[in-house]
């Protein structure tokens, strides 16, 4: 009988507490992966300077990355499965279009404002299902994007089926790319900090054992509302950016892609790691550009990959990679 034994590498044990770092090797071990991600993302617009089409793909990829971050945060740290990421995108996009076209605010004001207003709007709408456990949140979030489309069509508000046109574009291409890349990097690290603080612990408590959180005198619904606010804020910022990128806010912001790709990205990248969400989008979105030829068959491919990962490799790529990076394995006799 043999079993696989996993042991933390010595270097990991030493670098765990920052004070113990004693050599360049350990600093590289610690900083390397993070630097790789940061530099990699930041250099993308420079590398693709001759391919404006792919630069645009990168921008859209970053929007998906924001959504995936918000999904990962909600699902794996708070236990709320949001099947309607498109709703955040749509709300953010419409808010920014209203601020920009009707009120004439510049883009550096509309995007944060749309983020905040959209987050409040989404939180209020999702409030009825927050005191409940179970599948309610998933169901209601699934409905909202579909419903929003119907409402905009039926009342013929906000430009109806034509959408709101004439949203300002960004002044130059570099600002366009770096605005969203920096946003993604900022929220990646900010979110990780957020979940590692006390409040993150409480949120994980809400996911795993809400009765104990309640017994500690903390209002579970307030915590869930706060988490939804944070997630919706991140999502709405993505939507607001997208409206400026397309110079248009319309019904296609509520499209199914915005709901399903982030979920697939998180599952493939590794749920609960936050970085995994980004890695997942970096893999999936360019892939989906290559598969553009297949039309809606792309969604079938995502769903198949998603199901396969959930069933056969539920930890995802990032958790696997982290394990390989931090631990070595050997066969041990039992």
């Amino acid at each position: 009988m043999r079993r696989k034994e996993r042991i933390d590498r010595g270097i990991k044990v030493r670098t765990e507490g920052i004070y113990a770092i004693s050599s360049w090797r350990e600093i590289v071990y610690l900083v390397g992966p993070r630097a790789l991600l940061i530099i990699g993302l930041l250099s993308l617009p420079l590398v693709l300077v001759l391919a404006p089409y792919w630069k645009r793909v990168i921008n859209i990829m970053c929007v998906y990355a924001l959504l995936a971050l918000s999904f990962d945060f909600l699902a794996n740290y708070v236990g709320l499965v949001c099947l309607g990421g498109a709703f955040f995108i749509g709300v953010g996009g419409y808010f920014t279009a209203i601020f920009n076209v009707y009120l004439g605010l510049p883009f550096y004001l509309t995007i944060p404002l749309a983020g905040i207003c959209g987050a409040i709007f989404c939180t209020v709408l999702l409030l009825p299902c927050l005191p409940l456990r179970g599948v309610y949140f998933a169901i209601v979030t699934l409905m909202y994007p579909l419903l929003a489309t119907r409402v905009v069509e039926a009342f013929d508000i906000l430009g109806g089926t034509n959408g709101i046109t004439g949203v300002d574009s960004f002044p130059n291409a570099y600002l366009e790319s770096y605005a969203i890349i920096l946003l993604v990097l900022f929220f990646l690290f900010a979110m990780r900090r957020f979940v590692n603080q006390d409040i993150g612990l409480v949120l994980r408590g809400v996911k795993d054992n809400d009765q104990s959180v309640r017994a500690s005198g903390i209002n579970v619904t307030h915590m869930k509302a706060l988490a939804v606010f944070v997630a919706a804020f991140v999502g709405c910022l993505g939507g607001a950016y997208l409206a400026h990128l397309y110079m248009w806010a319309g019904l296609s912001l509520f499209a199914l892609d915005f709901s399903i790709i982030p979920i697939a990205a998180v599952v493939i990248g590794g749920g609960g790691t936050l970085v995994g969400a980004i890695i997942g989008t970096v893999i999936l979105v360019p892939l989906s550009e290559f598969l553009r030829f297949f039309g809606t068959f792309r969604i079938v491919i995502y769903c198949a990959a998603l199901t396969a990962f959930i069933v056969f490799k539920s930890e995802g790529l990032m958790v696997y990679a982290q394990r390989k990076y931090h631990q070595f394995e050997r066969w041990a006799k039992v």
Binding site: A75, N76, G79, V81, L83, P128, C129, P131, L132, R133, G134, V135, Y136, A138, I139, V140, L142, M143, L146, L147, R150, V151, E153, A154, D210, Q211, R214, V220, T221, L256, I260, I263, A264, V267, F294, G295, T296, F297, I299, V300, Y302, C303, A304, L306, T307, I310, V311, S314
Partner: protein, 288 residues
């Protein structure tokens, strides 16, 4: 009179949508988000079998419903069985399967308005001065027969009693020798079969379109939430509430708002009585 008659028809249609979903949820506690996809799949299969293979319609219906049941059983046996109990994964996996089926059908050519199932009996009759398609009357009749049949099945047959046993207390049922996985397979097969059955009945009223998958799923879920997840009687009463509310809005406002009615009903229910009108779970358990 028109409102009453069409209200009843609409309500029966809604409860047919919801029956499969609530059956699976009440027995195995599995939210089957692929329900709407199975509904469309069955309709499309029957269409393909009758039009492309040229088999007679009744045979096609039997094959279609059997195939849909088989798909449901396969979903459980190969996917859900491995992730059972992990709620997040269950939702994502069934939703992904449903999406894959629906978008796959769209890609495979299910577009436009050319996909129509034949009605069982053409024509219409005048009933209380209201003209009604015979198909709609058939839906009501068969729908009511289905409710009764399902009641008899779950109360007087061995398998049905086993299903109810698992639904009431899984551990005690397992000690009496009822296999939990087996009943889950059966419940998913029956639930999917019911989705297919509903599609055979309802789809002749319109075209087979992919969007119906999403609508059916949403209405099924709305009915289940309002009636109380896992309660069959509640589901039927809830479908009458939503059904009549929809017909009234359609008559006095506009048909755009029918889906809005369902969602508003859900939100009001969640605010006032979170476990639904006839929910079996106690409010305290469900409400943190």
């Amino acid at each position: 009179m028109e409102v009453v008659l069409y209200g009843i028809i609409n309500s029966v249609i809604l409860s047919l949508y919801a029956l499969g979903f609530t059956l699976v949820y009440s027995i195995s506690r599995l939210p089957n988000f692929a329900h709407g996809a199975l509904y469309v799949t069955c309709g499309y299969l029957v269409f393909v079998i009758t039009n492309n293979l040229g088999l007679p319609y009744p045979l096609a219906v039997v094959i279609g419903i059997t195939a849909t049941s088989a798909i449901g059983a396969v979903i459980y046996r190969f996917i859900l069985i491995r992730i059972r109990g992990m709620e997040i994964s269950e939702i994502i996996a069934t939703y992904a399967v449903g999406l894959a089926i629906l978008e796959g059908l769209r890609w495979g050519g299910l577009r436009g308005m050319t996909f129509v199932l034949p009605t069982f009996y053409p024509g219409s009759v005048i009933l209380f001065d209201v003209s009604i398609d015979i198909q709609r009357l058939i839906i009501v009749a068969i729908g009511i027969m289905t409710f009764i049949g399902l009641y008899l099945f779950t109360h007087f047959s061995r398998i049905g009693l086993a299903l109810r046993g698992i639904a009431q207390d899984e551990r005690a049922a397992m000690m009496l020798g009822i296999d939990s996985d087996m009943t889950a397979v059966v419940s998913l097969a029956i639930g999917s079969g019911l989705a297919g059955f509903a599609s055979i009945l309802v789809l002749p009223l319109g075209n087979i379109v992919v969007e119906a998958g999403y609508t059916v799923l949403i209405f099924a879920i709305a009915v289940c939430i309002i009636g109380g997840l896992g309660s069959w009687g509640g589901a039927i009463i809830a479908s009458f509430i939503i059904g009549f509310a929809q017909i009234l809005t359609e008559k006095f406002l506009s048909s755009h708002f029918t889906m809005l009615v369902a969602v508003l009903a859900i939100i009001v229910t969640l605010l006032l009585k979170p476990s639904g009108l006839f929910g079996k779970q106690k409010e305290l358990e469900e409400r943190v």
